[in-house]
């Protein structure tokens, strides 16, 4: 069985924790690394900047029709990570970014559960047609997780992902709305047995 997780609207405390997680070298090493200023990189917002800003800055990030950001919570109501859906409405597709910040929970399928939650939201309420992920070569667990959930390798591009002044290959994996139900059902079957 996969662990139970909940996707919720982020709070300021969640974003404070995100800042702490991203500053952990073990965490940012599997994420986007650090920028030229030595600060950890993140997608779509800088936690410290959002926390320092007012409600306008907050709303700009967390009330955006083109990007849905969720906090990931465990069944013990502990904040464990963050998931994002960056939506391109004309194409009816979204890119998923998912980070489990709690290192002690890595490799325990919390990422898989959160990914299923994000896909359910993308193909359900949002009515999207395609969801994709871009996995750099150094994130082997992320690659395995996406394939395990049923993402299809759509392409592999050489030296497209820069981290800490080094270029890495990245793999684009996609999942279409009509592929998802069968693969989700299969995944749940294997999780039960």
């Amino acid at each position: 069985m996969f662990p139970e997780v909940t996707l919720t609207t982020p709070t300021r405390e969640d974003i404070q924790r995100m800042a702490e997680w991203l500053n952990d070298p073990d965490v940012n090493a599997v994420w986007y690394g650090v920028g030229d200023d030595g600060k950890p990189l993140h997608t779509s917002y800088i936690p410290e900047a959002v926390l320092a800003g007012g409600s306008d800055e907050w709303d700009q990030v967390f009330d955006d029709d083109n990007r849905t950001i969720f906090s990931v919570y465990s069944s013990e109501r502990e904040h464990i990570g963050e998931g994002q859906l960056a939506v391109e409405w004309p194409l009816l597709e979204a890119r998923i970014d998912l980070l489990i910040g709690r290192k002690d929970l890595w490799h325990h399928h919390f990422g898989t559960s959160a990914l299923i939650g994000l896909l359910d939201h993308a193909f359900g309420p949002l009515g999207l047609h395609r969801v994709w992920v871009d996995v750099p070569e150094y994130n082997e667990p992320g690659m395995q997780m996406a394939q395990h959930v049923g993402f299809v390798m759509e392409g592999r591009l050489r030296k497209t992902h820069r981290k800490n002044d080094e270029w890495f290959d990245s793999t684009v994996l996609g999942l279409l709305a009509d592929e998802y139900p069968r693969r989700r059902a299969r995944l749940m079957e294997t999780a039960v047995t």
Partner: protein, 233 residues
């Protein structure tokens, strides 16, 4: 700057072999990404393009569309009566009957052919210009038929091999896999014929054809890498 196109019926191993070749030769690997890039150019969901390639017009689908259209027309004109074959059928315009023969406006027709093919050409030509890529299917071998430094590989495999591949990969039951293989191959042939007026399994469209019933993917990848070596010299 080699570009390698690999084409074959579903389940013949083109994706596996393509990944191996890309890995060995340190090339970009482009499979469905071809369509997602084309979709981005056109500004339409990728499913619209996939439907163009994999359009399988089963009789029951055509009948379903026919009935649905008829009911919609009937509702619009305020005609009531027997829900399936009642009054209103005589008022249907001829294109509704064309739907029934597979020539009408299905999902795949929502994107006009010219826009579709122009987007496909742009993606293929951009990839060729950048070089260093393995491209799986999507008529890339036709678009780049006479392009320089390009190797076109065709694959064949017996039905049994293709069915088994699909059963393993998609967890289909045998009967379901057989139907899928047959229908998608028919759709592939129709797609290639419609846009390039050629049959995809004819050998003269390729530098070489490999029978995947007679060799494993690893050997096939080595053969392709060896042949592609000439393109880099």
């Amino acid at each position: 700057m080699p570009v390698i196109t690999i084409n074959g019926p579903i389940g013949c191993g083109a994706v596996t072999i393509g990944q191996m070749v890309a890995e060995q030769m340190k090339l970009n690997f482009v499979d469905r990404l071809f369509f997602t890039e084309a979709a981005r150019i056109v500004g339409t969901p990728v499913g619209t393009l996939i439907a163009k390639e994999q359009r399988v017009d089963r009789f029951r689908d055509r009948l379903g569309r026919f009935v649905q259209t008829m009911l919609e027309r009937s509702a619009m004109s305020g005609v009531s009566g027997e829900p399936y074959f009642g009054r209103g059928i005589e008022n249907l315009p001829p294109e509704t009957y064309m739907d029934l023969t597979g020539e009408g406006s299905g999902v795949a027709q929502k994107l006009d052919d010219k826009t579709f093919i122009e987007a496909m050409k742009k993606v293929a030509n951009d990839l060729h210009q950048q070089g260093n890529a393995v491209i799986i299917g999507r008529g890339a071998n036709q678009i780049l038929a006479d392009a320089s430094h390009t190797l076109h590989v065709g694959l064949l495999a017996p039905m049994e091999v293709r069915v088994q591949t699909l059963m393993d990969r998609e967890h289909f039951e045998r009967e379901e896999a057989e139907i899928h293989v047959e229908e998608l191959e028919r759709a592939r042939e129709d797609f290639i014929y419609k846009f390039w007026k050629v049959r995809p399994n004819e050998a003269w469209h390729y530098h070489m054809m490999l029978n995947m019933g007679k060799m494993n993917p690893k050997i096939a990848a080595e053969v392709i890498c060896h042949a592609a070596g000439d393109l880099t010299s």
